[in-house]
């Protein structure tokens, strides 16, 4: 049994039209650029996978990563908390033209919904967004005299995430704050595809330092010296 994939192209080859795709990262930190770009290239060559529903905290920046997916026309809907960035043109133009859908979710609720999806919790109550537009249409309940909004789990067909180390069994570590949503998304997707900067032998990660246990990981591809989205954008801007 091996979870190792020979290339980013192979790693993303099973993603199909209309799938829900969670993509790790907060801004540029943790964005799996090589996996995303392999997917964009596949779409440009074959017209598939299109009509994707993409889950990420943001909605792309500049013209790389998720923004490149949006420019390519393969994203039907974004589920995110903050569809703004230093250069949000890719999303903003399509959104204002009515060509892309937006589900706006408060950041903590987004994280918790993804965690719930991975943990088999179909619904939970949160104080967040009570009494606001974001809570419209959602059930409300009172506990101990305070009102809370019911939120549903969020699951995906696929998660694309970026790790620092991976072992053959799928155990992962992350680089600093590039961790963010990735450990959660890994739990909530039917198939979790990981690009890791380095693949080590089982035992190469201290069992106490594993952040994502291998049970949540399906495919791993080694991408040494991966591009960092923010660094890439600044390079382009120069």
């Amino acid at each position: 049994m091996s979870k190792i994939s020979p290339s980013v192209e192979e790693a993303v080859s099973h993603i199909q039209d209309g799938m829900v795709v969670m993509i790790g990262g907060f801004g540029g930190a943790g964005a799996p650029i090589e996996l995303i770009h392999a997917l964009v290239e596949r779409y440009k060559k074959t017209g598939s996978p299109g009509r994707l529903i993409v889950v990420n905290n943001n909605a792309g920046n500049g013209a790389v990563g998720i923004a490149a997916m949006i420019y390519a026309g393969m994203v039907a809907k974004m589920v995110c908390s903050f569809p703004r960035s230093t250069d949000p043109k890719a999303f903003t133009d399509k959104y204002l033209a009515g060509e892309i859908e937006l589900e706006l979710v408060p950041q903590g609720t987004l994280a918790e919904r993804i965690r719930a999806g991975g943990a088999g919790i179909p619904a939970f109550y949160t104080p967040t967004s009570f009494g606001t537009l974001v809570a419209e249409g959602k059930p409300v309940a009172e506990f101990d005299g305070r009102k809370y909004v019911q939120e549903r789990w969020l699951k995906a067909d696929v998660a694309l995430i970026k790790a620092e180390l991976a072992d053959r069994k799928g155990n992962l570590t992350y680089h600093m704050a590039a961790r963010n949503f990735s450990p959660l998304m890994a739990t909530a997707a039917a198939a979790t595809i990981v690009q890791a900067s380095r693949i080590v032998e089982p035992g190469g990660i201290d069992p106490e330092h594993v952040v994502t246990p291998g049970i949540f990981v399906n495919r791993i591809v080694e991408v040494p010296n991966p591009k960092q989205e923010e660094a890439l954008l600044r390079e382009v801007t120069k």
């Binding site: 943990a119 088999g120 069994k169 739990t187 089982p202 069992p207 594993v210 246990p213």
Partner: protein, 223 residues
């Protein structure tokens, strides 16, 4: 008395159906024996509720680290690639459907998949542990059990009489006499010991044993 499989043989049979690469939780006690019979060449990753993935066999006596135990509080070892995590993450693996197989013991199994394995009724101290979570988490929930109680009464029932562990959750039952799948709230007989007739087996089973296609011989080596 009909010839029947030993507990070790039941465990052996259940072990053969665990696929390569599977993530598996073995209940405390009898189910732990299944690990002994993993077919060679297959990689199985064991999960324990108290926060370890990929633990190995018990260490030699005297070499235990009692901070490295399984859900039955027995000392274990680690395989390369093991991971520790806290209890909420551990049960996220369970409840979230990430385990491929859970193997549990049973007092009673009903044809609709109901399981009773935690309480023999009022009078003693109730204790449920992780069983109620496991039965609603793993993709396959397998029971290993003697086909009947010690005094010969059926354990595969139309309805459970004891307090339930879970509703409609069991997928396969490996007994001392047969292998029975639960499909659409019916017992479907897959294998039986060649030495027992279908009528004899049915007589030891409260609910109807449906037959779909061929019933294979349940052949298990001496173990």
């Amino acid at each position: 008395m009909t010839a029947k499989l030993t507990n070790a043989q039941i465990a052996w049979r259940a072990a053969q159906d665990i696929p390569d690469g599977a993530y598996v939780n073995l209940g405390i006690g009898f189910p732990e024996m299944v690990a002994k019979f993993k077919p060679k060449g297959r990689e199985v990753i064991y999960h324990t509720e108290n926060g370890i993935l990929d633990f190995g066999e018990a260490p030699p006596a005297g070499q235990e680290d009692w901070d490295l135990i399984n859900a039955g509080k027995k000392a274990v070892t680690l395989n390369p690639g093991a991971a520790f995590f806290h209890h909420a993450d551990s049960f996220a693996m369970v409840r979230g459907g990430h385990l491929d197989v859970a193997i549990l013991g049973a007092y009673e199994v009903a044809e609709n998949g109901d399981l009773a394995n935690w309480s023999t009724g009022p009078g003693s101290v109730p204790a449920v542990g992780g069983a109620m979570d496991l039965v609603h988490g793993a993709k396959r929930v397998c029971v290993i059990t003697d086909h009947t109680t010690k005094d010969g009464r059926p354990k595969l029932l139309k309805q459970c009489r004891l307090p339930l562990t879970g509703v409609g959750c069991v997928t396969t039952v490996y007994t001392s006499l047969a292998v029975v799948d639960i499909v659409n709230a019916r017992f479907v007989l897959r294998e039986k010991l060649p030495s027992i007739s279908l009528d004899e087996l049915q007589a030891l089973t409260e609910a109807t044993l449906a037959v779909e296609g061929t019933v294979k011989d349940l052949i298990v080596p001496e173990v």
